[in-house]
């Protein structure tokens, strides 16, 4: 008979204590990619040198960086999927991909929905002209010439509005590949966007174009992570630090862009912070 009493009392006491201890428990135990055993990474599939679909296999600098980071986090099971610029946020937020390494510039606006590790490289906006072009040595020489930018990009706006340079014509093409085609045909004088993207195109045909090599903005390529995953962000930063220290980063930059006249930055970039 008194057994029931005892159990009741015990249950009540345990219950009371559990309620007290609950807030302490809920403070931790948040899910993080650092505990994951497999990883789905979104990369570009149409960006030569960075993320390109070659006969069904995704290859490029971004792909190799993603593999290094995953390896550093102890994750062997990595699945790569192609993402376009427009769908990066959406796929990360929906959980379709766990990580995005796809020429993904860190901006204050994006940081409100995505946590960024890195940057793993700071690309600069630069200008690509035809190899035989002699009149363009700096961004100011674009005055009176025509410039091409990809749809939705504001690279050329930085030249026209930001620096107040009056270009003759501002062309907008569907993609940067289309801009490069126009440049090669001669229907436009210059293409301006991130130097790493331009270097990717240049590496495909090193003799056709040249860099002006007057970089004027920072494009911080970050590793997009689910919003609020601070532990994963810190792990990514650690991996990127090590990637530069052990020479892997420079090796990869050489491998993918070595044939171009791009001046690569060989030391670890300044991280953005995970908070």
């Amino acid at each position: 008979m008194w057994f029931r009493h005892r159990r009741g009392a015990a249950a009540a006491a345990l219950g009371a204590v559990a309620v007290m201890a609950l807030p302490a428990c809920s403070a931790e135990g948040e899910e993080s990619l650092v505990d994951a055993t497999s990883l789905t990474v979104g990369v570009k599939e149409d960006q030569p040198g960075l993320g390109l679909d070659v006969d069904g296999e995704l290859v490029g600098f971004d792909v190799d960086v993603a593999a290094y980071i995953a390896g550093h986090m102890g994750i062997d099971d990595v699945r790569l999927v192609g993402v376009t610029s427009a769908e990066r946020e959406e796929k990360l937020i929906s959980g379709e991909v766990d990580m995005v390494v796809a020429t993904y510039s860190i901006t204050p606006a994006r940081r409100t929905e995505v946590t960024f590790g890195g940057p793993y490289y700071v690309a600069k906006q630069d200008i690509l002209v035809r190899a035989d072009e002699t009149g363009v040595e700096g961004v100011r020489d674009l005055e009176g010439r025509s410039v091409c930018q990809g749809a939705g990009s504001n690279s050329a706006t930085r030249i026209t509005e930001g620096l107040g340079i009056e270009v003759r014509e501002l062309q907008e093409a569907e993609t940067y590949s289309a801009c490069i085609e126009r440049l090669s045909e001669g229907s436009v004088d210059a293409v301006s966007t991130d130097n790493l993207i331009l270097a990717g195109f240049l590496a495909e045909d090193p003799d056709a174009f040249r860099f002006v090599n007057n970089p004027f903005t920072d494009e911080k390529y970050g590793v997009g992570l689910p919003y609020g995953d601070v532990a994963a962000c810190e792990a990514v930063n650690k991996a990127v630090s090590e990637m530069y220290q052990d020479g892997t980063a420079v090796g990869l930059l050489e491998e993918w862009f070595g044939e171009t006249d791009l001046e690569v930055v060989r030391s670890v970039p300044q991280f953005e912070g995970c908070a």
């Binding site: 005892r6 302490a24 204050p108 706006t157 908070a275």
Partner: protein, 498 residues
């Protein structure tokens, strides 16, 4: 048939007879047959569980105290110091740019001598911060490498800026017209600073935040686990005491045993008291980290990046070839400190100018422009979120000072663009003036706000310690009282059998 060849066949075979276990049952029952033996056993159980409660509570309280000590005295202050490394380095580069810009006119701004003294002071601060960073990151090879790289880089940087200054002095360069060879050397120096030293310094600061966070969370989770233990053992003690009480009631036909009743109530009180104290201390510790340390470090970064921004002003005036780049970099750094959507400096000035008037409302996402993400950056919404109630004025001051900084920047660039270099240099040197420059006003306001968060940090740690302090004597004393009460409750009953 080999084993495992066919699971069905395995099942068909009869199970092997269970190994003969030595049966303790009868013996135990034999020794427990008498009432005093059972009473003794039950009492011993109660005493052991109360001792266990003392043990688990002691361990957990110690973990909580350790967590506070690490955050409050070791990792926390060190992380703060590491954050200052970036500020000191950025300041060194800013001073050198100013000195080169001054050229032969040593009285511009607050003067060349003061600038050089400031360089030495920042150099010393950088060294001090590096020492702190070295001690915090000890054992972490990646960060140790970074500390060493910054240390080496500082030596090279010193050499280069010394050379640049010497060349500029020898050339008797007038204000604003730096000697080309000096400029070349300074470019190398500032490039070293911005590609090697500052990024690594900034990353060290971030990493020390990460170390603090990891320590804090590991500590919090072991305390949370300890809390569960304390709760479970406390509940077990209460259960055992009630069992003992009921046994006495059945066997000895007493309604209540007062000492045991007191011991039960005491156990509940002790358990709840420890759990409450740990919870309250944990809340103070989290507050110290979030609203104290993290907020202070974020503001320190806002100060450091702004220091580099105003060096970009000097570099813009100093180096015609890269003036566009320095102007663009200025805008990018400004956007890190306080972000409003703007792709040009002109738009940025306008957007920032609106903020002090709108405050305490910060321009944010609204229906007119769905693409407007709000007022972001170190001084934006996050600074407002961690603001201590009643101290809105401190952030208002910082935002006004920052806006004034942008107004001066606009004037300076306007002067430079219309070719009035002398006026531009005057404005620039006025900004940096140690007594009444707008940059000084900005750093003063920022320091005021940062100090509030630092106070929050020390207060949080102190309160967290205070919540636990009584238990350092309360727990052993309480446990002894409980043990004594149990013995006092059982002894008269056992005596009946002598």
């Amino acid at each position: 048939m080999p084993p495992n060849s066919d699971p069905a066949a395995g099942r068909a075979e009869p199970d092997p007879p269970p190994a003969r276990l030595r049966s303790w049952g009868p013996r135990l029952r034999g020794s427990m047959r008498t009432t005093p033996a059972r009473l003794r056993a039950l009492t011993l159980l109660c005493l052991l569980i109360i001792a266990g409660l003392f043990g688990s509570a002691t361990v957990t309280l110690n973990q909580a105290r350790d967590g506070l000590t690490v955050l409050g005295r070791d990792a926390g202050p060190q992380a703060m110091a590491t954050t200052e490394l970036y500020l000191a380095l950025a300041d060194m580069d800013a001073v050198v740019a100013d000195v080169l810009l001054m050229g032969t006119d040593h009285d511009l701004g607050s003067g060349r001598d003061e600038a050089l003294a400031q360089y030495d002071a920042s150099r010393a601060r950088a060294n001090e911060a590096l020492l702190q960073a070295a001690s915090l990151t000890e054992g972490d090879t990646v960060e140790e490498f970074n500390v060493q790289a910054v240390l080496d880089g500082m030596g090279t940087y010193d050499q280069k800026v010394g050379e640049a200054r010497l060349l500029n002095d020898e050339a008797q360069a007038p204000p604003g017209d730096v000697d080309p060879r000096a400029l070349e050397v300074y470019r190398e120096a500032t490039r070293l600073m911005h590609t090697e030293l500052l990024p690594k310094a900034f990353n060290l600061g971030l990493d020390s935040s990460a170390i603090v966070r990891a320590n804090h969370e590991a500590g919090r989770s072991s305390v949370a686990l300890g809390l569960v233990w304390v709760g479970v053992v406390g509940a077990a003690a209460v259960t055992a005491l009630i069992g003992l009480q009921l046994y006495l009631r059945v066997r000895f036909r007493r309604r209540f045993n007062a000492p045991l009743l007191a011991a039960t109530a005491g156990t509940v009180a002790l358990t709840l008291g420890v759990v409450l104290a740990l919870n309250s201390s944990g809340a103070h510790q989290s507050g110290a980290r979030d609203e104290g340390l993290d907020a202070a470090m974020a503001l320190a970064r806002a100060g450091a990046i702004a220091t580099d921004m105003q060096a970009d002003q000097s570099r813009y005036l100093l180096d015609d070839d890269f003036a566009d780049n320095y102007q663009q970099v200025y805008l990018e750094r400004a956007q890190q400190v306080l972000f409003r959507p703007a792709s040009t400096l002109t738009d940025y000035y306008e957007a920032i100018g609106e903020i002090p008037d709108a405050y305490p409302d910060l321009p944010g996402p609204d229906s007119t422009d769905p693409r407007d993400p709000g007022t972001l950056g170190y001084l934006g919404q996050s600074a407002q979120a961690s603001l201590l109630s009643g101290r809105e004025d401190a952030l208002a001051e910082v935002l006004s000072a920052y806006s004034a900084l942008q107004e001066e920047d606009q004037r300076m660039r306007a002067a430079a663009e219309r070719g009035d270099t002398a006026a531009a240099i005057d404005i620039r040197m006025g900004v940096a003036h140690a007594d009444d420059g707008v940059f000084t006003a900005y750093t003063d306001a920022l320091d005021g706000l940062t100090d509030l968060h630092r106070e929050e940090f020390t207060t949080g740690i102190r309160r967290g310690d205070a919540a636990l302090s009584h238990w350092s004597w309360g727990l052993p004393l309480g446990s002894l009282v409980l043990l004594a009460l149990v013995v006092a409750g059982v002894r008269p009953r056992l005596a009946e059998y002598r």
